[in-house]
Symmetry: C2
């Protein structure tokens, strides 16, 4: 549980982030990153410099979702405790969404919760995962089902770090930006006016920050951020898609289900402007089919289910105006069958 | 992370608790207890009655600290998710401190945190463990090092349930009550005036509730509740004592370290009034010796350490007036060596 009210979002070049890291008010830094990023940035981060006046405990996790298991969680937290750690230690996670989900759960549960900060390195993390304190590992039944809310003190973003990001992850991040284009008029207008990606990132991150500020525990308004995720999470597992691409298809599928022809046109326009239209040419269910029961099984295990018979769906009235509606799972199933 | 501000403490007979259980505002109850309690109370609790209008997911954990491992945590949480669960599900933990620590961490991390309540069954839990939202499992390096703060909605206490509690656990609970006798004038006076144990329990629980209300995250005042625990936790591991007995010796040891002769007399008086003086006749280090470095190693891994060189100690000026003082670990070591 975090005592923080809000994280501080800072858009800085890496060398400034390094200075902020040195200035953290703790004599012990727990630095967690993944093997890919460690290879790419170990020289630039230069932890030895911090070690001159702080104890640094370092942990290199496997890259991607591989770290989000019970086994990795146990290994990492036991290692840190074994190194000697106290409640005023500060954890720094350098990575994308998977890494910060994992490291954040360590921070949330180590000695019942210590302070932490994120150096956000992937597009998806910059616009979404690193903001708002959701941390988690995966269950064998679904993603992020075991976790906590634990706001980081700082989220540091240097969009120059995207230069080392694999193409598939850039696409994934753009998929999540499609979501913001529907939730926020400002993001939509930035994309329409082809402004620099760095500014789009800043706008998405700030939008999310505002929503989270209003409703950290997702009892109400924060639910709008799940737009596209109800089916997105299911598609991610069923078709083995990247998160952002799955979310984009989740959005598209919702528009199809509810006959939102105009929004489907906007979807085509936005994805073209973001240059992900080629990666989103035809829905995965067109060649592979859609097992409605399987999809609903994933949907039912998702965290958005509000009781045993219904689910909270996020719909869009018009750009910038999302709406949460409760729907009986049986009715949803009918709609899905009609679509296939 | 809990959205609760405070738990509701209710002192009720079990049959009334059962009614409260049926009245929980959720269509899904996750009921966690341990194997001993399940055998003793399954008929009285009668979950079948609740199953007439709610889904009940049941988990029987091993009794005692055995449940507080990564393995048990993983098995239990995966089982619950596999049964189909949603965010409005309500977890009910029936047990002592170990069980509620364990079940509370499940509640804190399942789908990033769901509501929960405790039916408190041991003396230690009634006066301490079930109140204040501290939940945890154990690390191989020490107790309760992996956890969270997650307040239960309800803490239900029926002191009649103590009739089935093993003697050793009653003694353990009385050891923790010794702590409250030094922290609270009211508790001390209740004990001095030999009032009914049920009332002493109520007074201890209410005292803790008040402290927690002021400082849930233990940034300041709540630290006084660690009185006796700095060495208590170390003694618990080194001499394999029950928690409360270890805490009582932790208190005694602190008084010895700081030459508090008058408080040592009060200690003798209180333990006699509580009828635990026989179980506390001679300190474990008198026959077994005390390895100062080993004890400090446990102390150093404890959560009360505030940086790499010092520790927050709780001392008592006079009954009802605790004081927190920061002490260099080196100085503490000197004091300990002088005592041996």
């Amino acid at each position: 549980m975090s005592s923080q009210i809000q994280s501080k979002l800072s858009f800085l070049p890496l060398k400034e982030i390094k200075k902020s890291l040195q200035a953290i008010d703790s004599d012990t830094i727990i630095f967690i990153t993944d093997s890919n990023l460690w290879d790419l940035y170990r020289d630039k981060i230069n932890l030895e410099l911090i070690e001159t006046d702080k104890k640094v405990i370092r942990w290199i996790a496997p890259a991607g979702e591989l770290c989000k298991t019970f086994g990795e969680y146990e290994k990492c937290i036991e290692y840190i405790i074994g190194q000697g750690v106290h409640r005023n230690a500060h954890l720094v996670a350098m990575g994308g969404g998977a890494l910060s989900d994992f490291a954040g759960l360590i921070a949330a549960t180590l000695l019942r919760g210590i302070n932490w900060s994120i150096i956000s390195t992937s597009l998806l993390a910059m616009v979404d995962a690193s903001i708002g304190g959701k941390v988690a590992i995966n269950s064998k039944f679904g993603k992020n089902l075991i976790g906590n809310f634990h706001l980081p003190q700082n989220v540091w973003i240097d969009s120059q770090m995207l230069s080392t990001l694999p193409k598939v992850e850039v696409t994934s991040g753009l998929g999540e930006i499609v979501k913001y284009a529907f939730l926020s008029k400002e993001v939509y207008s930035f994309i329409e006016n082809k402004v620099d990606l760095g500014l789009v990132i800043k706008e998405c991150a700030s939008f999310k920050q505002l929503v989270v500020e209003e409703d950290l525990l997702e009892s109400k308004k924060r639910k709008i951020l799940n737009f596209g995720h109800t089916f997105g999470h299911a598609f991610e597992r069923i078709y083995d898609l990247s998160h952002g691409v799955a979310v984009a298809w989740g959005i598209y599928y919702m528009f199809k289900l509810f006959d939102e022809d105009q929004l489907l046109e906007t979807f085509a326009k936005v994805t073209k402007l973001l240059k992900v239209n080629e990666q989103l040419q035809s829905p995965p269910w067109e060649h592979k089919g859609l097992d409605v029961d399987l999809a609903l099984d994933y949907v039912g295990k998702d965290k958005k289910v509000s009781d045993n018979k219904s689910i909270d769906l996020v719909l869009i009235d018009t750009i910038g105006v999302p709406r949460i509606t409760k729907m009986a799972i049986d009715d949803l199933k009918c709609k899905m069958i009609n679509l296939t």
